[in-house]
């Protein structure tokens, strides 16, 4: 990042403001491209993983090698679809909702530390910022459901809003022990604190953090609206939930946002609990970004594995799980991790 600023200010002769804007635009473009690529790759991966778990192949034809081009072809097809806005829909909201959903996860991508020094927005409140902007997704889903003027969509939106607002709490609480350990919300600081091999990763630091990691994992599945917590969609109950009325490009935005969110929560898990860009064996950190992405993809795989194995919970059971099980457990984790820190002398 500093190198980029230096390049634009010294070599290209820009003033500080112009350099900042240029760098921001470049980083935003990179992030968006990476995100779109991820969505395409994960769509293909989801289908292959589902096929693998269901004793079938998944896409095999498009692009010859294991249907690698299937997701690309799907994207092209979906771009060519007619854009339908229902006659009774609330047009401005209907149009804006998918953008808001996408925006929520795209903004959060900015604070992800891919490698030492390589983070689009190096914020002191990085982790806080990530959870703050992902809340936008709830608004988008609620807007989409309401604006569609469809009862099924409204059901999906109402469920989705209740679910995502509730699950943000254990999601946040589960990361608080890590913040206690690090003493910082900066995403880079959190990763740097985990240097020195697999045993220094926060997930293995103490038993409370281990529990907190799994709590985070469960809450993150709910936060991304994927099975077994896919209440807003529940294709067997609510037809397609909040995006029932969406077609073409707007539907693609929801789709993109789902996979962007999926990778986002996986990357947060990697960043907060699984050592970020550090390799499991100390001293082997040749390719930090690759290490980070590989761990993220493994988390995504775990997520897909769960989705294609378990049945879906009911909406009241989902709420019960959140408020009566996960929030107390994560609270205990916060307190427990604090006590452990004091007892083990990890705090100064």
């Amino acid at each position: 990042m500093e190198a980029m600023y230096a390049f634009f200010m010294d070599t290209a002769g820009m003033d500080e403001m112009a350099a900042h804007i240029t760098v921001a635009v470049i980083m935003a473009t990179i992030m968006f491209i990476v995100m779109a690529l991820c969505a395409i790759i994960f769509t293909w991966m989801e289908r292959k993983v589902a096929g693998f778990l269901q004793s079938r192949y998944g896409p095999m034809r498009t692009g010859r090698w294991h249907g690698w081009a299937q997701a690309v072809a799907d994207m092209l097809k979906i771009l060519g679809k007619e854009d339908i806005i229902p006659a009774e829909a609330d047009k401005p909201y209907f149009i804006f909702a998918p953008l808001l959903v996408l925006l929520g996860s795209l903004l959060a991508w900015a604070a992800i530390p891919w490698a030492p020094g390589f983070v689009a927005a190096d914020l002191d409140l990085g982790l806080f910022y990530i959870f703050a902007v992902t809340s936008l997704v709830v608004l988008g889903i609620l807007m989409a459901g309401w604006a569609s003027n469809n009862k099924w969509a409204l059901y999906g939106a109402a469920r989705g809003a209740a679910q995502m607002v509730s699950y943000e709490i254990p999601l946040l609480l589960a990361t608080i022990p890590v913040v206690l350990y690090t003493g910082s919300l900066n995403t880079q600081d959190i990763v740097i604190a985990q240097q020195g091999g697999v045993l220094n990763w926060f997930v293995f630091r103490d038993p409370f953090l281990f529990i907190a990691f799994w709590m985070y994992f469960i809450a993150s599945i709910a936060e991304t609206n994927r099975g077994p917590f896919d209440m807003p969609e529940t294709e067997s109950e609510l037809v397609a939930g909040y995006h029932t009325e969406y077609t073409g490009m707007r539907f693609a935005f929801f789709f993109l946002a789902e996979y962007a969110n999926l990778f986002l929560v996986s990357m947060i898990a990697v960043m907060v609990f699984l050592g970020g860009w550090w390799s499991p064996i100390p001293g082997l950190d040749f390719a930090p970004a690759a290490c980070f992405v590989v761990k993220g993809v493994l988390m995504v795989f775990l997520n897909m594995w769960v989705r294609w194995t378990l049945p879906r919970v009911r909406v009241d059971q989902l709420m019960h799980l959140c408020w009566k099980v996960m929030i107390p457990v994560t609270l205990v984790c916060v307190v427990g991790a604090g006590i452990w820190m004091m007892a083990s002398g990890a705090v100064g």
Binding site: A50, Q54, R56, G227, D230, S236, E237, L310, R314, D316
Partner: protein, 392 residues
């Protein structure tokens, strides 16, 4: 502003508008195009949020006038139409119809044909139950069991294709026998091998993947409880009745064909995970019935006698004297009955079908009240209806 706002038990309401505020139930139209209604069933719901206050099934979207057609075709020609009732277990439908015709025409069926009928009917029942498990799992949001069940069903379709020529609609039974003998390519051994594989490997797989899954049990136990009395009142039969704890099965209690010769048990719901008659009970009854069907198939094939597989020449129409006959058989989804009135001609005067799914579906109206929308999906899924049979 704060003065004319009061807190009521419904939250904040303006006093000026309090009298105008009224809440009403949301009318929700579930189907006929809905992924969880198993075809073209339409459920009219009145809901308050997630709670269902009234549910009215609307049927008839797949009506094909089959009973009227029966009056215009001769006895044998109508067999193909019976295939299309419960298209997931066509052979059991054939069975119900041909036994009625045989009763009327007083036809004897050779033993080999009876054995083949039982084997194919039980294979069909397994195929149908596999779909029931698969789609019930799908309704609960579990995708993977669907694919597994379809994989095994594919095997059954292959076996039935080899003996009957069709993959979905077999038209296999004729009055007085079956249409084709066992093919000469090791069919019996293949069926036995499949049955053993299903019993020993596949069913335990489903049980670990779905039946005893914690989330699945949470979703289905104590949900949509059909009491014994309700089941009797609405004329429920088949796994729905047995799920409510009633040990009734036409194959044992009103034996037709050669079912009384074989040794099998009748699984009933015992409320293992909750109350007797909940969705889980109906589900587990089907799983256990698959095991029992495997037993029947094994016995029927091991004692398969030699001899003719039919008494009538295939191309000749059946001669039926005037009279009336009713026969009932245990189809995959319940008791399938055919009431035929013959006037002595080539065609029946009237043919009335008692279809099991139609009666089983009625119970939704009573049991569905007070459930959540998700539970209603579980209830409809656990009834295992087929619209081709409801509407005929």
């Amino acid at each position: 502003m704060t003065d004319d706002v009061k807190i009521t038990n419904r939250g904040w309401e303006s006093q000026d508008h309090a009298s105008e505020m009224k809440s009403e139930l949301l009318e929700l139209n579930m189907g006929p195009q809905h992924p969880a209604t198993h075809g073209v069933l339409r459920l009219l719901l009145q809901t308050d949020g997630e709670i269902v206050y009234k549910v009215t099934p609307v049927v008839g979207y797949l009506h094909r006038c089959t009973e009227k057609i029966a009056e215009g075709v001769d006895y044998k020609q109508w067999i193909v139409y019976t295939d299309r009732f419960d298209y997931l277990a066509p052979v059991t439908n054939n069975h119900a119809y041909v036994t009625a015709v045989e009763k009327l025409a007083d036809l004897a069926v050779p033993e080999r044909a009876e054995h083949l009928r039982i084997v194919t009917a039980e294979l069909s029942r397994i195929a149908s139950h596999l779909i029931a498990l698969a789609t019930f799992g799908l309704d609960m949001g579990a995708w993977t069991p669907l694919l597994y069940c379809f994989r095994e069903r594919e095997e059954i379709l292959n076996l039935l294709e080899r003996i009957a020529g069709g993959r979905m609609l077999y038209n296999y039974m004729v009055p007085g026998g079956v249409r084709y003998d066992v093919p000469k390519d090791n069919w019996v051994a293949d069926v036995l091998e499949f049955v053993t594989m299903l019993e020993n490997k596949k069913l335990p797989d489903y049980n670990t993947l779905l039946t005893y899954n914690k989330i699945f049990i949470e979703r289905t136990s104590d949900v949509g409880i059909i009491s014994k009395e309700t089941a009797f009142d609405y004329g429920c039969t088949g796994p729905v009745l047995r799920g409510s704890g009633v040990k009734f099965d036409c194959r044992r209690d009103d034996p037709y064909s050669l079912y009384d010769r074989f040794d099998f048990e009748i699984p009933v719901g015992m409320g293992e995970m909750g109350t007797v008659g909940d969705c889980w009970d109906r589900y587990i009854v089907r799983v256990r019935e698959i095991e029992q069907s495997c037993r029947i198939i094994r016995q029927a094939l091991e004692t398969l006698p030699e001899g003719p597989y039919g008494t009538l020449e295939l191309k000749k129409p059946v001669k039926v004297p005037a009279g009336a006959a009713y026969s009932r058989t245990e189809a995959a989804k319940g008791e399938m009955g055919h009431y035929i009135i013959a006037d002595g001609g080539a065609k029946p005067f009237r043919n009335k079908v008692r279809s099991c799914s139609f009666c089983n579906l009625q119970v939704v109206e009573k049991v569905g009240v007070g459930l959540m929308v998700s539970d209603l999906v579980a209830l409809v899924g656990s009834l295992d209806i087929v619209l081709g049979e409801i509407d005929r």
